[in-house]
Symmetry: C2
Subunit: 182 residues, 2 copies
Amino acid sequence: MSLRYAILVDLCRGEGTGYEIAKRFQEGVGFSWKASHPQIYSELKKMADMGWVEFEKIEQESKPAKKIYRLTDDGLNSLKLWMDTPAEIPPVRDMFIIKMTVGDLATPSKLLREVLERKKFTMEKMAIFQQIEETHYKNDNQDPKYKFPQLSLRAAIITFEAHLKWFDELIEYLETLVKSES
Amino acid sequence: MSLRYAILVDLCRGEGTGYEIAKRFQEGVGFSWKASHPQIYSELKKMADMGWVEFEKIEQESKPAKKIYRLTDDGLNSLKLWMDTPAEIPPVRDMFIIKMTVGDLATPSKLLREVLERKKFTMEKMAIFQQIEETHYKNDNQDPKYKFPQLSLRAAIITFEAHLKWFDELIEYLETLVKSES
DNA sequence: TGCAGCATGTAAATAGTTACATGATTAT
DNA sequence: ATAATCATGTAACTATTTACATGCTGCA
């Protein structure tokens, strides 16, 4: 049921089509959840049947009619109920960490390349989030209304920092291995 | 196919029954992957059929016969091939972070309680990993053989530290909310 | 007496991904 | 020309969880 509530949270900020919601749930756009479009369409349909969301159908020329979804009072109430119940602590599921436990089975240079790739990826992502933090929430904008979204953003930034710290420890060791290899 | 390789990595350290492997993959035991026992049994069966693992059947009185699995040469070779191909970067999928973006919809005291619960949980987990790091890898034990497992452990510790840092930011804000609430 | 641990497995359900399908428009 | 964007959806598959099933032993 997680995706269901993730969508409700997304719709809290305003109405949107399944397509738009799906875009936000694509790899990397939002930090904390990922979902493909068929999953989102089917979940929206279920919630429309339950009356948690409603949609306005807008016909378009040369495109399928778009459905603009918004929360209903029922949906908002269900969301509020969920908000007060603890969320499950998710398992990690990162094969890269598993791989490291037996890193001696890999080719050091390839492992190093993989870490450098991850580091690059993480730095790019982090830059985006830091940008948002600076333009939206820093300095003047200390409106308590934005405090929660900002704190949520902090989760991403802090996590990325941690990953980078770990990557640097890996790189340090792997570089010694690659040097002695040649 | 991730679970498959996670099991192979696990079997690298030595033989084991499905039951034992499943225990290690339970919530919280290993840091980086989670799996239930039916999933592990079925994956072991598939890999036995492919010849990546083999097992020795040991009859027992009053218990079902146990199967002690170990890697075959084929399994080890497949694992080595996998080691040299980059692992996918996993999505995060933590509803707690999502929840924070609309934290104003929750009851502050309940949200605070949830954060404190997570903090406690994380500190307990981290203590276990730090213990392992100190007893197994610190001081005298600078054997390069243990360098990779140690680095893998560092991923957990560094990640936990990051979570704790974030939790403290949340707690600081939520405490002001709870105070002004009463 | 009742629960945890050992040890296997099957069956059913839910969650999530990938491929297929359509079709016009705009940018490269 | 080709790919990306808009916008929906279905179908098939893979991954994962939960419930059911068995049965003995040792502990509180």
